[in-house]
């Protein structure tokens, strides 16, 4: 059975702090993809990044970075120097088929 767990339900930080959101994907599959999505208060879901299970290199895009460790099944997302506009619910979602299953989400609140 496959299971995706977003470790934190809610995180609150003050602007300019760094914050890491943790996602654990338990599966026996060796090949899969992992996605991160952002859902701001307006409700739409925005695709952030896709990584595959063979690529454990960190990826950095501006203030966002992602770290995937296959040995621990963890796919973590770090926001550096957080801003109020980063306030949203963040979802990780694994996929190895036609389906994409979402974690329960981590609500991030960034206070000024």
């Amino acid at each position: 059975a496959q299971k995706v767990t977003q470790v934190q339900t809610e995180i609150s930080v003050v602007e300019k702090e760094d914050v890491t959101l943790d996602c654990v994907y338990e599966t026996r599959d060796t090949t899969y993809y992992l996605f991160w999505y952002k859902q701001p208060p307006s409700g739409e879901l925005v695709f952030l990044i896709r990584r595959n299970s063979f690529d454990e290199q960190n990826e950095i895009s501006g203030r966002y970075s992602w770290n995937f460790q296959k040995s621990t099944s963890s796919f973590n997302f770090t926001i550096t120097a957080s801003q109020v506009v980063d306030s949203a619910v963040y979802f990780c979602a694994p996929s190895n088929t036609d389906k994409l299953i979402f974690g329960t989400g981590t609500r991030l609140q960034v206070f000024p």
């Binding site: 409700g43 879901l45 896709r50 389906k99 994409l100 989400g105």
Partner: protein, 116 residues
């Protein structure tokens, strides 16, 4: 470029009334199509997905049904709404033929349904 349209944006319906939510995609052919539901403050639950016209996979037994009458049209329906059907409904598409699931989902803006 591809776009996805979902309507209506908000809907208030009485218990026992029918439901029809429509989603269309432009700019691509034979997409995989999906319906998700998000209850207030909760995660996304996959309801239905379709890999082709007339092909519907149901993920959760419920009061809802889905149909795909055309290649880029996906409809979510109910004959009689329940209070528990309230939520935020999201339609999404992804490229087909990606058996390992490497294509991201692209979402519509969602329909907020309140059943009273």
């Amino acid at each position: 470029s591809q776009t996805i349209h979902q309507w209506p944006a908000t809907l208030v319906q009485p218990v026992g009334s029918p439901l029809s939510l429509e989603c269309t995609v432009e700019g691509t052919s034979n997409p995989n199509l999906y319906w998700y539901r998000q209850a207030a403050g909760r995660g996304l639950q996959l309801l239905f997905y379709s890999v082709g016209i007339g092909q519907i996979s149901s993920e959760v037994p419920q009061n809802l049904s889905a149909s795909r009458p055309q290649d880029r049209q996906f409809i979510l329906s109910s004959k009689k709404l329940l209070l528990s059907d309230s939520g935020f409904y999201l339609c999404a598409w992804r490229l087909s033929g990606t058996g390992l699931g490497n294509s991201p989902l692209h979402f519509g803006n969602g329909t907020r349904l309140t059943v009273t």
